[in-house]
Structure formats: C-alpha cells, structure tokens
C-alpha cells in the first residue's frame, strides 16, 4: 500500500500547455507554484512566467488521504525533475499545447522522456489551446500514437476549466483499473 503522501498524479508537457492552470483548477488549495518571470525567448512566445521547479496541489480523499498533483517545469533544461516527480506516481497527464510549432513532436518528446515510467503506468494526453489552433486534429494525435505503438486516450481540454481537468483524471483512473 502506498503511503498517503505518495498518492500522486503528475502533469507534464510543453511550456504554456497549461500544467499550472490545470492543477490550480482542480486543487483544493491554492497550488504552490514556483513560477518566475521568464527570460527565455522561446518561453516568452507563450507566456510571461514559467515554472522552474514544480507545481503542487492536492485533493482530499476518504480518511483524509490526499491525492497530490504535481506539475513538471516546461523548460527542457529542467527535464530531470520529471523523473524525480514521476517516481511512485500512479499516472501521467501529458498536456500538449496545440498552438506550438510542432505539437506532435512535443508529444513524441514527452512520451520518450517518460518511456520507462509508461512501461508500468498509464498516461492520458490532453490537448490544449485548440481554440487558437485546431491543427493537428485529435485524429492526427491518434495516428502519431499508433505509429509508436501507443494506445493512450487523447482528449481536447481547456486547462482552465475544472470540468475538463476532471475528465482527464477520470479517464486516467479508468486506465488504472482496466488499462
């Protein structure tokens, strides 16, 4: 049995994909966000601040147990944090910003980065910023996953909406049981 403080889901994905927003929208407490003003050109294209260590929030389960929600930093120089945060996690939520230059390459990158974790644990792909760019479409994501031999579900979400984030977690829980 996992200790209560080890029950966690991890949100990962590219800069500006909505990891901080997603955790904020569902966490019972104001999430601890380690955001700083960004100075990197690539980051500034998408947002003014960026997470440099991790985001952190939680929701309370029965018996006061907590399901912790961690968000990894989006900048690739902090990728090592991904491996630290996913250790002992139940599942991974990969958020992809559909308005970036090559969202499918981003997907590929995060699946590769977490390949070891995903051998034993489930993931769900949330595609954000569809209102800004509707290409690639969801079918393109499935085609890309198919090429890799992966079968994770893909859902279009608005990370600011609690209901949307709830959908992601709900499907991830289904994968924990039957995946």
């Amino acid at each position: 049995m996992k200790k209560p403080n080890e029950i966690k889901f991890v949100f990962t994905g590219s800069v500006g994909a909505g990891k901080t927003c997603a955790i904020a929208s569902i966490s019972e407490v104001d999430p601890v966000a380690t955001e700083v003003k960004s100075s990197e050109k690539e980051v500034l294209k998408h947002k003014q601040t960026t997470t440099v260590a991790m985001d952190y929030g939680y929701i309370t389960l029965e018996n006061s147990e907590r399901l912790y929600l961690y968000g990894t930093p989006g900048q690739r120089r902090f990728d090592f944090m991904c491996h630290i945060l996913t250790k002992g996690a139940l599942g991974l939520i990969i958020l992809i910003n559909n308005s970036t230059e090559d969202p499918l390459a981003e997907l590929d990158y995060y699946l590769n980065l977490n390949a070891a974790f995903l051998l034993e644990n489930p993931a769900i792909i949330g595609v954000t910023h569809f209102d800004i760019s509707d290409t690639p479409g969801i079918e393109d994501y499935y085609a890309a996953l198919d090429e890799r031999g992966d079968a994770w579900p893909v859902i279009r979400v608005d990370a600011r909406e609690k209901e949307d984030v709830n959908i992601l977690l709900h499907v991830l829980v289904a994968a924990l049981e039957h995946g």
């Binding site: 049995m1 029950i7 389960l61 139940l90 579900p153 709900h170 499907v171 039957h178 995946g179």
Partner: protein, 336 residues
C-alpha cells in the same frame, strides 16, 4: 423479382476486415433499399460482388463463365466507368448513397434473377443476417427514425422539421461536410427522436443550406456528435440488430471522443475494450457496467466504426491488489 423478397449477395475476394466493413454498410443501407439484401457464404447467390483486387484481375472472365453477366458487380477505388461498378474506399467501404442507388437499380432490373432461389437454401450467412439467435425481438434498429435518415441519406443536404410543431427550429444536415446546423443544443433536439412519423425530411441544395446559415444564427456541429447522441438516447438498452452479446468477440480499435454525450460514464468500459477482446457479456461482467448501458455504448461505437471483431477472446488482466483497487475506488469517488 418480387417486392420484399430476400436478395442474396456473395462477396468475392474480400478479406475479413473489408467483409465486416461492407456488411456494416449494407446493414445501415437496409432502410433505403427496396429489397432485403443478405450476404451469403453459399456457392450460388443472386448477385456477386468482386473486391477491387478481384475486379482488376483476369479472374473476372472465369467467374462470369456460364453465369448471367448482369449478376456481377465490381468494386472500384477509382472512377466508375461501367454501370455495374461500385465505388469504394481502400477498405471496401462504399458511400451509402452510392450503394443504395446501385443495389436498387440492379434489383429492379429485368436482367436480375427472376426469383432469388438461393436465399432459402443458403445455410451460412454473415453475421449481419437476421436470425432468432442474433436478432432477439427487442433489438435496436439504426434504420429507424432520425438516425435512419442520417445514415442512409440519399441526398447530401437535408432539411428536417417536425410536422406537429411547424415552428420548432429545423435541423439542417450536410452529409458531404459531415456537419449539421441547428440553433438548438443536442438536448433540445429530443423532439426529433420521439417518433419517426413526425419527421418531415426533404432534400435541399447546398445553396439553400448556405442561405439559411447566412440568415439565421445556426451552430455548425459535427454530424458524428448528433449520431452518437441519438444512438445513446434511443438504444434504450437494446443491442443493435444482428449482433449478439455471447458470440461476437469484439475490441475497440480506436477511442471514442470521450467528450461526447455520456461518454465519460463509459471511460472504464472503453479502457477495458481497448485493451481486451471479449464478448459483450464478458465485458459487462469484468467492468461491472449494466448490460443495457453496455449495449448503448456498443451500438454507438459500432456505428462510429470503432468496433473490431476478433476470432479469439483475449483478456490482458493485470493483477491488482485489493489495496490498489480500494485506492482507485476512492479517487474515482472523489472525482465524481
């Protein structure tokens, strides 16, 4: 050929996948066909349909030997050059309207067999065939009502209204663009699902539809969202005609759009079906979903083309500790 008699069709050169795809389309086309068509495995049939690959080979002449040429139809993936050709995609899926037009034409033709003599003697028929085993009296028929009109649309654009509520906003369908236009939400379209007799369905031109869209405030929505909604709302726990909860081994070949109507309620069963192949009764037992709800979900997935038949049961069950399952239940309960 007499009206309402069974017409048998033998598929030649189709692999299992293309056979299943074609059978599914034929089932959907049933309502718009003037005769009842049945795929047969018997040697003789009223008509023979050759796959695109078979049609392209010299085999065509051998098959025609001693048989009436008008009984042969040929699939083509390119432009139609002859009247007995059926345009299909790479998976042998024809457009419903094209299939309906050709099949109605040939079954009414003077050259077609005078009596469909093979139907009664045929012992092996495809899974789309009606039988007391696969078609219990209480089945879901996708050819009925609004769904039937959408699936077997003979015209690319339709205007659908309610005869008993002339002022109720009409529904505009464009099957060429795979969209519908309406000022109503899906729930507000429920009156369209209540009785088929109240539906006024009239063909329209693309210009007519464009003019309406330009003058009224209409939302453009994917047609698949409407079809999914109708199937979930109207299946009422009944399995789709021609399918069995015990003998059809199935898996999900793709994920449904989990944002569609009630789809999130089916997340667990979708996950199970994506990772396993089993008959519906096993799926219900393994996931705890009620058979009625599973039928609704299955029907919708089937009509979306997401169901893949398999020959063998394949359960990839992971051993979950009671603690793990208890934790999952707790998280699940919290998220509801």
């Amino acid at each position: 050929m007499e009206e309402n008699k069974l017409v048998t069709l033998k598929l030649i050169g189709f692999n299992q996948e293309s056979r299943n795809s074609f059978s599914a389309v034929l089932t959907l086309a049933g309502r718009a066909l003037k005769k009842t068509w049945q795929i047969t495995e018997a040697e003789e049939a009223d008509f023979f349909l050759l796959s695109a690959q078979s049609s392209a080979t010299a085999n065509r002449e051998n098959l025609l030997k001693g048989r009436l040429a008008a009984r042969f139809l040929f699939c083509t993936t390119e432009n139609i050059t002859q009247e007995n050709e059926l345009l299909v995609d790479d998976n042998h899926v024809p457009r419903l309207s094209v299939l309906v037009a050709l099949f109605n034409k040939i079954s009414a033709s003077e050259n077609s067999p005078a009596q469909p003599k093979t139907a009664e003697s045929s012992t092996q028929v495809s899974r789309t065939a009606s039988s007391s085993e696969t078609n219990p009296p209480n089945f879901f028929d996708p050819e009925e009502g609004l769904l039937g009109h959408l699936l077997a649309a003979k015209h690319e654009q339709l205007i659908i209204s309610l005869s008993n509520q002339p002022h109720y906003p009409a529904l505009y369908i464009d099957t060429a663009k795979n969209v519908y236009y309406s000022q109503n939400s899906l729930e507000q379209l429920n009156p369209y699902l209540e009785t088929a007799k109240l539906l006024n369905v009239k063909p329209a031109s693309a210009t007519e539809i464009e003019n309406v869209i330009a003058t009224e405030t209409l939302k453009s929505c994917p047609l698949k969202d409407l079809i999914w909604y109708i199937v979930i709302k109207t299946s009422a726990g009944r399995l789709i005609k021609g399918h069995s909860i015990t003998s059809n081994i199935v898996t999900l070949k793709g994920w449904p759009d989990l944002r569609l109507f009630k789809c999130l309620d089916y997340a667990k069963v979708a996950t199970f079906m994506k990772n396993n192949a089993a008959p519906l009764e096993t799926i219900a037992a393994q996931t705890g979903i009620s058979p009625a709800e599973l039928n609704n979900f299955y029907n919708a997935c089937y009509l979306m083309g997401l169901i893949e038949p398999r020959n063998q049961i394949e359960i990839n069950k992971k051993n979950r500790s009671p603690e793990h399952l208890d934790l999952i239940n707790k998280i699940d309960a919290r998220l509801k």
